[in-house]
Symmetry: D2
Subunit: 391 residues, 4 copies
């Protein structure tokens, strides 16, 4: 199979399982809301984002995509170039220096609409003083934090932050993440879950999803959480809430899901069981202090493609999964396709609203209009099983 | 056993299972924050509220309790009168006219602090123009609605609404209600749950708790919910989301949990299966239109203490549980004792705060201070299992 | 309400929820398989057995029922006497001496068919040398053990042991017992399950059902089991398998379900937490050594109708539920009605087979013919939800 | 990485997660029970069986392994050859004709002990009349069926059938298979499970494990099962039991787990939803009639590496996963490593018993001695979490 064929197959499979984007595409093809528009997209280049890219092109956009180092799927990129003529900048082996070049190239296309990830393109536009952008969307929590932090008050056009939608919260965080991480754990280790002890850090929506998934699959879950109300919820969900010093010596597997750096640190290594597995799900690969682990280790051995063993001076060894990066993305293929269909339907509807009724929005970051959440939820329900039972 | 002995035993059993109130009592006995205070309490008179009453008296209060028709536990009332000298107004057989008299009697004690239920005492104070009240607490959602509705802007003293505490939401709504209603269902019917089909109306916190409890016990749950985002969450939790017309003909048991009147109405009776059971968990006994059911029925038969059968002209019959009143309260003993310990610890801490640092509060309804939620959650965690595993 | 009315209502409610017996009744009324037969029944006299009694009478039997001390429901007995003319011997307040008299009276009716419980009537017939019995059924495990022990080789007529049916095993043990015991726990204590630690003894079918029910309701389950294969199954089901010495100091509630005496003994009392609850589900009230507990205690206090506190010389106290008798029966109303419908349908079909084709059976104890299990399972499935989804 | 390095890494990772085999190895190295023995093994050549092979060699055996076409992991084979000098016959691309040659080569080594799969080597020995074999073990159900069928009474040496061990039943079937198949489904499709409708065929131990796993992950499970007792158990587990004609039009995914051929046949294709996925878990790839599907299809398209779409003349299309072969093996890596550790510890202990106390066994097929099941279960429990809580 050629690279192009492989990419086309991946995109086709994603497309077939994204009914919300398929529905939107009918609208985009009929209305051409992006006719004459130049769009710059900063999302990771892989099969699901490719279907969103197809939607924008179907709506009339001239599209440039800028991927990220290490995550660009070169086959998908090739198929998008050949089949749709999309300008896809970058490849998997890129360095961060390469990416900065790609961002510049992207801005050189004079985009008037940005679909951003981590606010990288928006920040570049603001820094450069380049005009012409009438609106943007932002996919992530980290982008939202930048918009409310360093970029606060400086963005002269509306930015819809998809991440904060209640719909996305339920579908991605509450329901999507647990099974996706379990998938990553299975692929990385092929080891058993039932009967094992997992120590989880954090009981926000992500930690809750993970903990409930593991417990439903017959694991014992120890839960470390500093917020007492969340900790109490965990206890009433059947988790064993403990301080970190008590949890670590009991755990077969340790997973961080807090969104904050420095959760498992050098001072904790001595508490870990021999052979323990360490994994991270939070956005930043700094929840487990991997640098400290490397420094402390007397030797480092690759046990499996996603497992590295560090031998500690104490004679114990620990096994780090996926280098401490997000386990669901690094060892598997991220969220289920249908979960991303929801997130990207929020993108598609938001882009449509910005392109067709810009006057409804204010400058700066803002929520997805609630009517869009309701529309999408209603559309999904039509595809859910129960509806067919009445046929 | 005498009525007094029965009441004393009930209170003692509740007291032994309320560690939060026991902890607060040490503080109240030492500090006497209510010394010289006259308190009027409007909560239902039963064993768990009796332990809260004990707390207030231990804190120095002169206390008058006004119960509600149909819910006053006469044994508990008798024990409170004899053992603590509390003035308890009313008995189970009271009419609503009787209760109005009791409210008047209660105000005649010139209370300076009110612990209210449904805002009945607060409303009476406002209507009467009587002064002297420096603060109040309100237990319920319906009281909160009155404070924000008809009483809005008219209450010159602070009212802490316990109902809206995030802690109460998690403990009572998310985790407490499902098992409590199941208890009521078991006592009322002694029939099986596993393998049966339940149609539930509403997927707010209460409906979600009920649905998850039933599914965990191997029932099939059909879910009727008009909000599409909640409906989607239900679907992703494994519930079969359906419109009412599709759900009713499939259900063995129908339960309303919406908080709104008129959910199951005369026009739906024809859709119900022969022998179906109907129950309600929402605060109002009007979610199922019981009057319409009585009107439509050709005969009415008591099948069991909490089950009445209505024969319909169609030849089918339906079985109404607990007259359409809250099944957990009417057929069982409400929430687990520890669940009420949380709710009443919120009351106790709120009363303490109002009595000792009134200047921190504004006139009108407001949330429980978040520090109280955190304090109580921390206290509960100390009593939870995991803590002892480190002993 | 009169005693008769109360009994009639209870029986009617049970009858309405026993579709299998209702179906069998049509056959019995048409065929009259017991016409001219004198039947002696030894099952507990309560509402569900009453429906089985009605079936036998509908089939033509002249019936005498002998209840057991402490379990006879006098209201049900009265209704059976008045409405069906059944001779019901005994009342709740009977002593064991009274019961021996009743067994004699029952044999004096010259029964030719016995429906037995614990093999009491069969043993009496064998001991007395009385002839005329052509067949019997036996409901319980303990009766089965007597038939295979002291009575082995001595019973000249067929005895079908209902207890050993695979259908009963699944419906009563695997699925029925957990929810029924939880019902008993709720009624006895009104305390919370979620977040609490239960130590269970035994992972046979009964222990497994209980453990899974508690875990599904968000408890932590510690499991003590001497058979390593069962213990491993428990571990893979998410239970924490431990030796007794490790489990007792961690448990909020201790439940025995082994079927063997002397599980929690005097030597263990010192390991229990202060305030722990002790309960038993096994057939014998000797799994917890209650006599030893009474001997050890410095005082004994009734905390609630089904809770007695024993203060130990160590300064700790323990709370015994339902005097160590089967919690589901003593504190609630036993299995769900539909569960007993299955057990009694096995009885009804077995009686029918014995009465109409005696030649198919051999002398002594034997299994329910497998065709009966299949027939009943098929009948139940017709009443299950899914069938109606096709309507 | 070279082929040898890849294989060595895979074996090392498996070895590190097989504590039971590690424990046995100490015994084998000390006692050398297979010193001077020539062993022929017929298991699939992959990383987990490699660890069993290492055990036999550590015990003194001269070992020849014969893999199967399509399942041999060439990297693992290479590592076994280079690192242990094991004679590994065959490679992934072999035909069945090649394999017959390999079986002959294996017999030519004059084995005196056989570790068989599907009774292929045993049958070849019997057919050839070759002597010298003193004992054998058999891994699979299909081998057991041959031993009890065509080979019945013809095998002059003991054969221990590992498949029938109660321990293996619980660990592999009841607990192992569900998560393993889910892993295969995730890898093959990356589509969502929660909220979806799965139609499962068969509620034996394998079907039950699969159904419970899917339901715990919030799917709706329709269950088709011809045995009414199993069907009833499924219903009481919360599955919707239905006839095939009712289930197929409702299902998003159809999975066969019956162990019998011809479950989903040409006559059913018209009932399937457009876009439905079809998968098999049963040992034979004939549960779904793939040949009939190919014949009926107007076109065939590869959608993803493990997904082929067949367009039917009705205008609908179906998506066959993993060509109808066992989804957990074909699309993922089979059971979790620890699950296979149990199955291979049964092998190792059985081999040890046959080699050291042959007199305890009779000719022909027989169960694993129960003492071995108990020993292994006890060993596993020592590695389970709870034991460490007492440290």
């Amino acid at each position: 199979m050629t690279l192009h064929e492989e990419g086309a197959q991946k995109i086709a499979w994603a497309r077939q399982n994204m009914p919300l984007l398929a529905g939107l595409r009918v609208t985009f093809e009929r209305e051409l809301p992006l006719a004459g528009r130049t769009v710059a997209m900063g999302l990771h280049v892989e099969s699901k984002t490719a279907v969103l890219a197809e939607l924008l092109v179907a709506g009339g956009a001239s599209l440039t995509m800028t991927g990220s180092p290490g995550t660009t799927d070169d086959a998908v990129a090739e198929a998008l170039r050949q089949d749709l003529g999309i300008r896809v900048l970058g490849q998997r082996s890129d360095s961060y220096a390469d990416q900065l070049e790609h961002v510049k190239e992207s801005l050189a296309t004079k985009p008037d609409l940005i679909v951003d990830n981590g606010a990288d393109l928006i920040a570049a536009v603001i820094e450069s003083g380049q005009g012409g952008v009438f609106a943007a969307t932002e996919e992530t929590m980290s982008g939202a934090l930048r918009l409310r932090g360093e970029l606060s008050g400086r963005v002269p056009f509306p930015v819809i932050v998809v991440n904060d939608s209640p719909l996305k919260l339920i579908v991605e965080n509450e329901k999507g993440i647990g099974p996706a991480v379990l998938d990553g754990f299975n692929r990385a280790t092929n080891t058993i879950v039932a009967g094992r002890t997992f120590a989880l850090f954090g009981y926000g929506t992500v930690g809750r999803s993970m903990a409930r998934t593991l417990r439903a699959d017959n694991a014992t879950v120890l839960l470390v959480e500093t917020d007492p109300i969340r900790a109490l919820e965990a206890a009433l969900d059947g988790m064993l809430v403990m301080p970190i010093e008590q949890a670590l010596p009991l755990a077969d597997v340790v997973i961080t899901l807090t969104g904050r750096p420095g959760i498992v640190r050098a001072e904790h290594f001595g508490l870990l069981r021999d052979g323990v597995m360490l994994a991270n799900v939070g956005h930043f690969s700094t929840e487990i202090d991997v640098d400290a682990l490397r420094s402390a280790a007397t030797s480092e051995t690759v046990l499996a493609p996603h497992v590295v063993q560090y031998d500690l001076p104490t004679g114990k060894s620990v096994r780090l999964l996926a280098r401490g990066e997000m386990l669901n993305l690094a060892a598997a293929t991220g969220h289920a396709i249908e979960v991303m269909d929801v997130g990207f339907a929020l993108q598609g509807h938001s882009v449509h609203a910005l392109a067709t009724r810009l006057g409804d929005f204010i400058a700066g970051d803002q929520l997805v209009p609630h009517s869009i959440d309701l529309t999408i939820a209603t559309d999904i329900l039509k595809t859910m099983p129960a509806a067919r039972w009445a046929e």
